[in-house]
């Protein structure tokens, strides 16, 4: 199949950028979308042009490295699928696909389709952990956890930190990412002790990074490759009010 691509090219953070047209004549429905870009890059290199830079690593939908807007949707048209697992059979011969990087002030552009998501790391560092210095931990079964709670915590813990929620959110809000971690940890008995400081600090950090606020568009849940529910955002707000009440 032949695929037409319009891809955002930008040499560096300060350089001017724009959409450039490409054609991949020898695409194949079994290719992943990233393999399509690989094929295109081989063409470009042979022609002496700069290949298109895009982040990727596991290509299994788990590391969260990949992440681009494909046809206007974060990670492309297939539900619950990171773009590295998106395959060309989701497209038709002759399609034109527009490819752009995540757009958010808190995700400064590095090059082409690559952005800097370190803001996520700082949000986690602000409180997305349980303080448990190595050693000293009690027996793993000392504290039973109701299966439902453990399963729900796992639902939220599956976040791969890809940033699609931010990219798709009309407000460029990081609420789903932040809430998923807050909910994961607060649902477990080990996490409740630090729950109050955690929610306040992580939320403050999220604001400080320049992400937008959440207006409940729920677009984030729709594009999340792990289908994390905005119920986590409601959960975060309950946790927050709890924290405020007990601190005032």
């Amino acid at each position: 199949m032949t695929i037409h691509l319009r891809i955002w090219r930008q040499a560096g953070p300060e350089a001017p950028g724009g959409l450039v047209d490409y054609i991949v004549p020898d695409a194949n429905e079994h290719m992943s979308f990233l393999e399509l870009l690989d094929v295109l890059n081989e063409q470009l290199i042979k022609k002496g042009e700069d290949p298109i830079e895009f982040d990727n690593d596991c290509r299994e939908g788990i590391c969260g490295s990949c992440g681009i807007m494909v046809g206007g949707t974060a990670h492309g048209p297939q539900r619950r699928t990171a773009v590295c697992q998106l395959h060309m059979r989701s497209f038709k011969d002759g399609d034109t696909i527009i490819v752009e990087p995540w757009r958010a002030a808190a995700f400064p552009l590095v090059k082409d389709l690559v952005v800097d998501r370190s803001a996520f790391d700082r949000i986690i560092a602000a409180g997305g952990y349980i303080s448990a210095t190595t050693g000293g931990a009690p027996d793993a079964n000392a504290l039973p956890v109701a299966k439902e709670k453990a399963d729900e915590a796992m639902d939220y813990a599956t976040c791969i930190g890809c940033g699609a929620c931010v990219a798709a959110c009309p407000n460029a809000s990081a609420s789903l990412f932040t809430a998923a971690k807050i909910a994961h940890l607060a649902l477990l008995p080990q996490g409740v002790l630090e729950a109050q400081g955690r929610v306040i600090n992580m939320v403050d950090q999220m604001a400080a990074e320049g992400f937008g606020d959440c207006s409940n568009h729920a677009e984030c849940e729709a594009v999340c490759p792990k289908g994390i529910s905005i119920a986590s955002i409601a959960f975060m707000r309950r946790e927050y009010m709890k924290a405020i009440r007990s601190s005032s």
Partner: protein
């Protein structure tokens, strides 16, 4: 080929009963006082399970830690991809598991090619890992009573594997990553992502620093430390196609090898039997399907190579369930290496299926008959979805197609009992070292090893090194060793960019992968290995004349990164072939066609080869020098694995 007379290596295994060695060690070592810990800077390269857990733990102890990784975030290390689970001898199911059994299974699974003392220690600390992970909030699967659930995994008769859905590695890594983030917030760890270690700086015989490249700007940096922890993972990508992440590489380890660290058992590679087959030239990566599928799926190929009928039209009579035929007692559940070789044989005999003829059927029709589609869905639903997402076929209707893929490398830098390489001050953790898995790794034991190394072993052994060695505080990054090492790294980059040939880095990588797969893959023989050595040497030469690396050093340039990694793979590949050629026996993942039993099974030769082969770099033109570490088995009796 003639090998310089091997010298013997000393692993510094403590004296005493196997069960007491680790405690004896901990009792006897010197400690670093809290006040002094702050004065020591430790460079931790890699943020996978090994590096992440080590950096977090050492910082927690008060050391001053610098942590490096290639990805844009520490959380993306390749450990994240681990699916199945992690072993521990908790014996929660009360099915008779003990530390001894975990130790024994691991030694046996490794086909008696690993060090008893290390493996026993691994089994001993395994339980602490689970406690630690749970304390960090790792949401392991639980039973309705609220207690932790276990599943059974290949190579064991007990149920000792802890898991978090199909994402155990992810959850364990996030646990370590969050602990690391905590230390970063406390200012005890300086995190440097998007950094690639290009070389090791050795001063006065000790590892004292590394040279890194900042991957978005190309800036070359010097980092000084009192010790270097290499936690950079496995080198399966030497085969180009593997289940490893695209950034997995050997560069860091290889640069250390070139600086004097010995490389042990490079030929030990694990090939995983149940992966999604290659669909075409453009294939960039192979995806693993959990082994658990073999519990209910039946593996078969058509009897007749010419048979082109779709699977559902092939009657029972014309099908060959070759695993069940050849291994009546274990059937589809034979260990990874056996299952993989069997699949290869069928395809070599032309009975492979699919348009590439390089895959075999994994059929669930009978399972669906037997227990109903619903039960199958409950057990394997998510795997079936993943398979369909990638292949477009629905496994409930057409049999899955699978083929083996390179998955894990047991070989790595040689380390002693303290995880210290042959360069003082250079410690190697996780998949990057050669330790605990011998010639074959059991499922769910790599996560265990990575975390054991990082959380519970290095804190002690590193302390010993710092307490017992005088580390010159006068040395700075202005030292000429830094200067020359940095220059060499820069030279190499300039050279790669200046060639401007006509073949891309990927083309060379793919070509190397093909050679490795054909001759240093699942089944190896002397002529093939000799050919591999020659072909790789030739390819390497061509690479340095004709490779085309686009762009410049000053910006984000993945092709430049890969060029330098492929250049190292082109050297490693030859060493692997050389090691495979010298090891004239079959063991675990290493199968030499000359050495097999009458039934075609692996034939170990304990008298000659119950040893670790550790290679020393002797310059680009000299041949690597072999060093042997003889493996003494005081507690287990090496036996032949049989699955018939």
């Amino acid at each position: 080929m003639d090998f310089a007379l091997p010298t013997r290596l000393n692993a510094k295994v403590p004296a005493g009963r196997l069960h007491d060695k680790w405690d004896t060690y901990k009792d006897s070592v010197h400690l670093v006082s809290p006040a002094n810990k702050r004065k020591h800077t430790i460079l931790v390269v890699g943020t996978g399970l090994a590096g992440g857990s080590a950096a977090a733990t050492l910082a927690g102890l008060g050391y001053n830690v610098k942590s490096f990784c290639i990805q844009d975030s520490a959380r993306r290390a390749h450990s994240i991809a681990a699916q199945g689970g992690i072993n521990a001898a908790k014996n929660y199911p009360n099915d008779g598991d003990t530390i001894w059994r975990l130790f024994y299974d691991t030694i046996k699974g490794g086909d008696y090619r690993s060090r008893e003392a290390n493996v026993y220690r691994l089994a001993q600390v395994s339980n602490n890992i689970i406690d630690q992970a749970v304390a960090q909030g790792v949401p392991f699967a639980r039973e309705y009573g609220g207690l932790l659930d276990n599943r059974s995994f290949g190579g064991a008769q007990v149920s000792r594997t802890f898991y978090a859905r199909g994402q155990t590695g992810q959850q364990l890594l996030l646990g370590a990553y969050q602990a690391l983030s905590h230390q970063i917030a406390m200012g005890r760890v300086e995190m440097l992502p998007r950094r690639e270690m290009l070389d090791l700086v050795v001063i006065g015989g000790k590892a004292r620093g590394i040279i890194t490249r900042e991957l978005t700007t190309g800036r070359i940096e010097r980092h000084l430390g009192d010790a270097v922890l290499l936690c950079t993972g496995g080198y399966g990508n030497v085969y180009y196609l593997s289940t490893n992440a695209k950034n997995s590489n050997v560069t860091a380890a290889w640069r250390c090898y070139r600086r004097g660290a010995f490389f042990a058992n490079p030929c030990y590679t694990q090939i995983h039997p149940t992966c999604i087959p290659v669909s075409g030239q453009y294939q960039s990566k192979l995806t693993l399907m959990s082994e658990s599928l073999r519990n209910d799926g039946r593996v078969w190929v058509p009897r007749n190579p010419q048979d082109t009928r779709p699977p559902d039209e092939i009657p029972e009579a014309d099908r060959d369930y070759y695993l069940e035929r050849r291994y009546p007692s274990f059937g589809n559940l034979v260990p990874r290496d056996v299952a993989s070789r069997a699949a290869k044989k069928e395809c070599d005999d032309g009975r492979g299926v699919g348009n590439t003829k390089l895959s075999v059927y994994l059929d669930f029709a009978d399972a669906i008959e037997r227990m109903g589609e619903q039960t199958v869905k409950e057990r394997y639903g998510n795997l079936f979805e993943m398979y369909e997402r990638i292949t477009g076929d629905n496994p409930y209707e057409v049999p899955m197609r699978i083929y083996p893929a390179v998955h894990y490398t047991m070989g790595g830098l040689w380390v002693d009992y303290e995880l210290q390489s042959t360069i003082p001050g250079l410690f190697v953790l996780g998949e990057a070292n050669f330790s605990d898995h011998g010639a074959n790794r059991l499922g769910a034991s790599a996560l265990m090893q990575g975390l054991a190394d990082g959380y519970f072993i290095i804190p002690y052994t590193l302390g010993t090194y710092l307490a017992d060695n005088q580390i010159d505080p006068a040395i700075t990054t202005d030292n000429e060793a830094f200067e020359t090492t940095e220059q060499e790294a820069l030279q190499r980059i300039r050279r790669l960019l200046s060639i401007q040939g006509d073949k891309t880095v990927t083309e060379y990588h793919r070509h190397l992968g093909q050679i490795m797969w054909d001759y240093v893959g699942m089944a190896r023989n002397r002529p093939g290995l000799q050919k591999a050595c020659a072909d790789i040497a030739a390819l390497r030469e061509e690479f340095w004349e004709r490779v085309l690396v686009p762009g410049e050093n000053g910006t984000y340039n993945k092709n430049l990164e890969f060029a330098s990694r492929v250049a190292d793979f082109l050297e490693l590949g030859e060493l692997m072939a050389r090691d495979a050629q010298r090891r004239e026996e079959s063991c675990g993942g290493h199968f030499r066609e000359e050495y097999k039993t009458a039934e075609g099974e692996a034939l170990r030769r304990d008298k000659q080869f119950a040893e670790v082969a550790a290679w020393e770099y002797t310059g680009d033109h000299g041949q690597p020098r072999l060093h042997r570490e003889v493996l003494e088995f005081e507690y287990v009796q090496p036996t032949t694995r049989s699955y018939r």
